[in-house]
């Protein structure tokens, strides 16, 4: 299969982005975008204008969609590079861009620090020992699976790094905390949830079906809403 890979590159946070198009052959139908990037980076290929490519910077670590590092925009959709097979794109055209909601560091690397700062602002931690009840075990498990990749934020019409709405990447982890509280009043996290998640969510549902690990975001938010807004007991 002939591939035409169009990469949006950027040398530094302040420099101007530019596109580079690389053509190469790929025989293995199991090849992921992660493997493709490794291939390009370990080859001496030139782009279609015969310019050097150099190292295309991208974040990765586990290569098995367990760590969330390699999130990027692939053919317009935020996805994990290790979770995307090139054979999906029948015409062989692949566009790679950094997540756009976060500041670009270089090439496909973005600074996702705002996501972590939001978790701090939201008080995503347990002040007391967990009071997890058996009926909430599955909920807490599901919420614990979030890999903080940021794909859900990319598609969210209400999220931006300086907005007061923190998006699903915060709504999921906080739902674990809420599901394990011994009472549904008196904790800052409940007030913060209302302010930074509940009030700002436009219910566009754009984050459904985007999560690379398939977290049922809606179900988690329904439970968090019940506890923080309607004060339903856990």
């Amino acid at each position: 299969m002939k591939l035409r890979v169009d990469v949006l590159r950027q040398k530094s946070p302040t420099s101007k982005p530019y596109r580079q198009i690389i053509e190469l052959d790929c025989e293995n139908t199991e090849t992921t975008v992660a493997a493709l990037l490794d291939t390009i980076n370990s080859s001496n290929l030139k782009d279609i204008n015969l310019n050097d490519i150099g190292e295309i910077k991208w974040d990765c670590n586990c290569l098995q969609k367990k760590c969330g590092a390699c999130a990027m925009v692939i053919n317009g959709r935020p996805r994990l590079a290790c979770d995307t097979k090139v054979s999906e794109f029948k015409n062989g055209k692949i566009t790679l861009e950094p997540l756009k909601k976060f500041p670009t560091v270089c090439d496909l690397v973005v600074d996702r620090a705002p996501m972590y700062e939001n978790l701090k602002k939201l008080n995503v931690w347990l002040e007391d020992n967990s009071a997890l009840k058996p009926k909430n075990t599955e909920l807490a498990y599901e919420a614990s699976r979030c890999i903080q990749c940021g794909c859900c934020l990319e598609v969210c019409p209400n999220f931006s790094v300086d907005a007061s709405f923190f998006g699903a990447a915060a709504a999921v982890p906080v739902s674990r905390i809420i599901s394990e509280l011994n009472k549904t009043k008196g904790y800052d996290v409940l007030l913060n949830y209302r302010k930074n998640i509940y009030n700002g969510c436009g219910k566009s549902l754009s984050c459904m079906n985007i999560c690379p690990v398939g977290i049922d975001i809606e179900n988690l938010m329904v439970n968090s809403n019940a506890a923080s807004v309607w004060k339903r007991k856990n």
């Binding site: 586990c62 367990k66 760590c67 590092a69 972590y116 701090k120 020992n129 967990s130 614990s144 982890p173």
Partner: protein, 529 residues
Amino acid sequence: MTVNIVGAGLAGLSCAYTLAKKGVKCNLISLQPSERAQSVMAEGGINASLNTMGENDSVIEHFLDTMKGAVDLADPNAVLGLCRNAPSLIEMLDKLGVPFSKNSVGIIQRNFGGQKKKRTAFVKSSTGKIVMTALIDTVRKYENRQLITRYSHHKFERLIIENGECKGVIVRDTYNDELKSFCGAVVLCTGGMNGLFEGLTTGTVNNTSDVTATVFEQGVQLANLEFLQYHPTTVEMQQKRFLISEAARGEGARLFINKNGRRWYFMEEKYPELGNLMPRDVVSAEIIKVTAMPECENTVYLDMTPISKDIWENRLSDLKEQCNHYLSVNPQKTPLPVSPGIHYFMGGIYVNENHMASINGLYAAGECACQYHGANRLGGNSLLGALYGGKIAGESVSKIDTEFILNSKTEKFPDKKVSHEISKEISKILSESLKILRNENDLKTAEDKLKFLLNKDLNDAEKKRVNLALATVMCALSRKESRGAHRRVDYPNIDENFRKTTIVSLVNGKIEISYSEIPELRNKNEVKS
């Protein structure tokens, strides 16, 4: 005093949490955020003799199984501490909100390799991930209280060593190339040495081995580098090895090979008591043996079809999804061809029972440290070792009462990386010699090739990695016996004279190997069964 923890996986988080509870400040320095750490990949579970399964389990049995798995090469006092504290650590995780599966007695446990009793607590097949989430959230509480300061996207460059003592660490911000020096004791929690076998391990890419290689060059002693764990059930995939968790066998999966046209469940036949759940070193070596037999085909299969639908859904859901996605195999229907792959490094930075390394002011915990696992680690003991090791390192370092004052200044120096070509070359040399079954010829050839490579035009990072690789090969050459994960076809038996820890250090540019006695167990009466 501010402690500098390098690495934010489970050991690093555990250390930071321990320090924060004592009111001691720390910098938590890591290349990537904790969510990206290899700890999130641990699947099967975490060992502790909770005795919730009606099998009369005990700390002593956990201790004896761990020592037996380690083929008596672990520090028994450290291992006893590990096993004795395991139940309270699980209790801690429970309080931090890890949603363990429970029955009316308590946390449900499953069978794991090298252990006769159900001792492995788990959260489906994502135990590491779920435990990490709870620890990350807890650590965040102390970040908010300014007891823990995170430096994500910071790469370890080197220790600051003055007069033979570690006084701090130099790190580089990978986003803007800025160097920073942090004064204070250092705890390394930097993971296993996957980079020595690029593309050939089940672990993560960023555990390059370069931190270990750097401190080795700086004079820090390493230990037991020859002990590499080959996990018996891995599958080749692009860029790495795919792991089929031991939990699959713990829940009933069976290994077989076709012999004279019929399925031969060789592990069950050869080892009737533990069968498919023998320690990993034994299973991997058996796979090599049976695939070499003329009457057998050359592929071993893992048959996961005996596992019930309920177990798949409630205990192994992630594993099923991953097999489908990455291997295009439905493990509920089709046996999977498997072969051993490098999974864990028992050796690493030499530490004592308190997790202090060979120089003052330096500590290490987690997979980067050589502790608890001896010649072979039991499944379920890695999360435990990281959690407990991080805690002990934190407790030890918090007792330091001397002030750290830096006399030297850091001059700028360029970022050096190991090139793809050199990395691949080292991996090739090592994988051809540090096999499951080893021999002197292969190891000598590897030694020669690495020495030759050292004379090439290498950058500093490359030299360090080649030296670490060479040290590993020399450790394997020097241990003339077969024990645990180190099997020499030319020395097929255990030699009690080698019941010692291999110590390797770089002295004036020369790699030196010595052996250190395994400490005696202090409370012998306690473990008399």
